[in-house]
Symmetry: C2
Subunit: 196 residues, 2 copies
Amino acid sequence: MLDLAVLGLLKEGDLHGYELNKRLKSLVGGYATSFGALYPALARLERGGWVSSTAVVPHSDTDEQAASEPARRNRRRSTRPKSGRTRKVYRITEAGEGHLLELLQEDANNERRFRLQLAFCRFLPTDRRLALFELRRAHLVSLQAMARRDPVHSTDPYVRSLFQRDQERLEHDLAWLDRLIADERTNWPGPEPNDR
Amino acid sequence: MLDLAVLGLLKEGDLHGYELNKRLKSLVGGYATSFGALYPALARLERGGWVSSTAVVPHSDTDEQAASEPARRNRRRSTRPKSGRTRKVYRITEAGEGHLLELLQEDANNERRFRLQLAFCRFLPTDRRLALFELRRAHLVSLQAMARRDPVHSTDPYVRSLFQRDQERLEHDLAWLDRLIADERTNWPGPEPNDR
DNA sequence: GGTTACATGTAACTAGTTACATGATTAG
DNA sequence: CTAATCATGTAACTAGTTACATGTAACC
């Protein structure tokens, strides 16, 4: 799952590990990351050929900075290090971009993964994005069906309250998803409005 | 976390692993369990002295069944096995009951754990239960404060939509928790109404 | 001159999951 | 007789976390 987050962020521009960690934290409601997970993940992604890395020595003023710094203010050592040791700047490869597209479409039965998929679904074509939303919707509907089939059978007030909150949350989530889907269909009429 | 679920269920009555697994699934919105997690957990709990086990041979009609079967319909081999091999029936120990009380009060910054704590919080004295709710509340409030301090800074419509849903969900959860807390205070006036 | 921020990494732990191995009993 | 259900368990994997080790450089 971290792979999805890392590839998504790198698709926007090259970054080194420390910076990636900061972005991840502010990404979606504090997607929990830690260096202990991130650095091994980056090593794994590099071994798999999804990303490539370049060691960047702080003082060298060569072309290391990439899309992450759009304004190149005259290169007057504006990239002044601020760093204590060499950084490893990662860049997504072509294979990595393909992998990202796959990760963006799989499953959707996992809340945390779906958050990440939503955070980067702008990289998907509209029809694939709609398919993702519908997949998530189907999952929520099946959860709802399960809850209705098995209506609590506990008399404990705390358990009952929890179940009820769950149902309200499910309804709220479905309404929200339906709004997302409707918006998507508005911006992209699809095959139906045409006489085909 | 499984420890909490297992001890909570065993506090209600003795059970063997397979039955525990079934109860866990129907417990709180499908608390995900699997034998691969449950059996090692039971072994660990037994090593720690929190539970004890008795091997039960299906055909023996001795006193194996406990609180889980309240109606003892004349013992006319009503406990007819239905089982293929010997079961290991677990019972919570005194130490285990103490441990359960601890587990019911720790943290509350973990959504999944809090669900379990709520499912078994009836075993806590009212003041400890209130403290648990307040702890959870404080956690949600701090999440809300973080979200407000850092207001999105993304222009992507999907990310913005997700953030907004998160905030609505937080508000809904807080309102729900406040209701729980208010109910608790109504049933247990506490030290304030008295002149102390 | 001490704290904070930058930067990369490893080790041990937490909390699970899926798939497999094994076998008895019961219902169709 | 065969499929489903009951019953216990292991192995390998997923996806993280916390704590530690190491070091530079900027801020006050």
